[in-house]
């Protein structure tokens, strides 16, 4: 089980990402009040050291109910760049929400993978020095 702090963090993060994605809102880092339930087809990237897949699935379905798939980013940063690119391009037309919780090194390549695929961001937030959350437009 995740602790309360982590739970609160995930709740904010996923609710914000989902609500913004579904509503088409944009840009500045901010918290959303609530997710629009039942409309989300989401893809979530995460770095395993920041949480377990089961944590992500549980919390996403609690706070931003929808059809979520989670993908761990592992391996070299080169692997992560190409995996993100593949997932982002694959999500186009099949999902409406693309979010993630990663470390700054991974975020550097995730950001470029999404931008190089023609994507942009609803928000990018440094939750802590070593934890970045984001929601990308699809």
């Amino acid at each position: 089980m995740t602790n309360v702090t982590r739970r609160a963090f995930f709740k904010t993060f996923f609710s914000a990402g989902a609500a913004l994605a579904v509503s088409g809102g944009v840009s500045q880092p901010r918290q959303a009040e609530a997710a629009i339930k039942g409309q989300i087809i989401g893809v979530c990237l995460y770095v395993p050291s920041l949480g377990k897949a089961s944590d992500f699935v549980e919390l996403m379905n609690t706070n931003a109910r929808g059809d979520w798939t989670v993908h761990p980013l592992t391996g070299s940063l080169t692997d992560r760049y190409f995996k993100t690119k593949d997932l982002y391009e694959g999500a186009r037309g099949t999902a409406n929400t693309f979010v993630g919780a990663v470390d700054p090194g991974s975020f550097a390549v995730v950001h470029e993978a999404i931008v190089n695929s023609g994507g942009s961001f609803h928000y990018i937030t440094y939750e802590e020095r070593n934890r970045v959350t984001f929601s990308a437009q699809l």
Partner: protein, 531 residues
Amino acid sequence: MSNFIALPKGVTEEVFARAIKEYRALLGDDRVRTDPASLQSYMKIMYPESMDLHIPSAAMYPRTVKEIQAILAIANKYKTPLWTVSTGKNFGYGSAAPATRGQIVIDLKTMDKIIHVDEELGYCLVEPGVTYYDIQKYIKKHKMNLMISVPSPSAIVGPVGNSLDRGAGYTPYGDHFLFSCGMEVVMANGDVVRTGMGDVPNATSWQATKWGNGPYVDGIFTQSNYGIVTKMGFWLMKTPPPGGYLPFLMKFPKVEMLPEIIKTIMPLRLSQVIPNACVVVNSLLEAACYCNYDENGKPTSRDSYYRGKGILPPQVIQQIIDKCNIGAWNFYAALYGSREQVALAWKYVSGSFKAKFGNQVEIVTAKEAKDDPNFEFRRQMMMGGRSLQEFTYYNWRGGGGSVWFAPVAAARPSESYKQVKIATEVLNKYGFDYLAEYIVGWREMHHIIDLLYDRNQPEEMERAYKCYDELLKVFARHGYGIYRTNPAFMEKAANTFGPEMRKIHRTLKKALDPNNILAPGKSGINLDIPL
């Protein structure tokens, strides 16, 4: 309430709206974007200044030279400044955000044609949106025996942008502008010029020789704002045959050994026994390169070693060296040629270092390195491969702030160590550690210092700004210029080179772009700001 997130200096909302209308008539709505979401990717900066100073007003995506000519006509009409990016990365040297608020980003990633790759003579001609990875794929697909020199972000950046900013790589062709050959440039007035032999009708040697007739002009289009480069040629190396590539690492235990290391490297470098732009990496940068969050149980950031305040104490640095099994200095280089040539060169190289340092040097080749990620990263870089391992640096301190301070040193033993001492003193004064590498070129060394900080802490960001500012001043006082910088410091960096050079830059700007529409502020060249 404005309809735009920013406006160019001196341009009213009404005038800007008219300009955007004309741009859209030319390119269509999809390729002229003013909405915040579309502009978000140009607002990720890593240097220590507020993003507010660098917000673009719009982004445009031309596909052809004709479209760029038409854009320039509109820009001249409405005086809307244009900030051109190729693939738009540049990380610690500035990302894709414009030097001043309100410029329109011309994003050339939509011009991504590989026009020609010549296997016989080893060169290519490409558009600005082509990445190194695109070229690598092309070479592989066509089974060509060629390789291209890449900078450290390798796959995800492109040769046009990198070379125009005079970036460096790690192969024998590591001085990327030096190994470029021929440009096509759209001037502010819409003229299209091809440099070198390119303007000869039906030119047959545009990428085969750098020099044309009269003054050589390619240099004025690098680190500048005198034109928009739409094609550029690059020389490619022949790939060594099997057994003809030998990357290696030498680890040295003490910081004070640097002058002797440089003294041993340079004769081998000047004689081309070591032919590549090799690197000498300090302990903390080498340690930071291991900070991949995937390696469970291994240290993943600076905090893994030290949670105290201020800079890392010497004993902690020594613990890091011991724990990571790295050197105080780590020298990466490679040998190229036939198997026999490499074997012979290796005798000279390893013999020189063993004779000088005895058991004080640890020599590592691929055999000993096995799957070490840092060795693999360097192995890839020195053969024009792809690896994004360098981005693990951003996990070291966290917070997304990184600015590369990059003075140049003459490749003399005394100079190398002097710069280390000066840099360490200034960085430590502001509470930052010294993380750096020397890229050893032909007769100079690019001293790449990564000033890592937390952008989300205003106090830390301010400290990082002041630190960079003082580094610039102190190094200039000692006779050192920097080879490249980010938009926050372009004006100040230009000043360190003296008023006469600034006058020449300005005279050229007035002659070639009198309306100041091309990237005002790039390298401190901006007709809006009096000298």
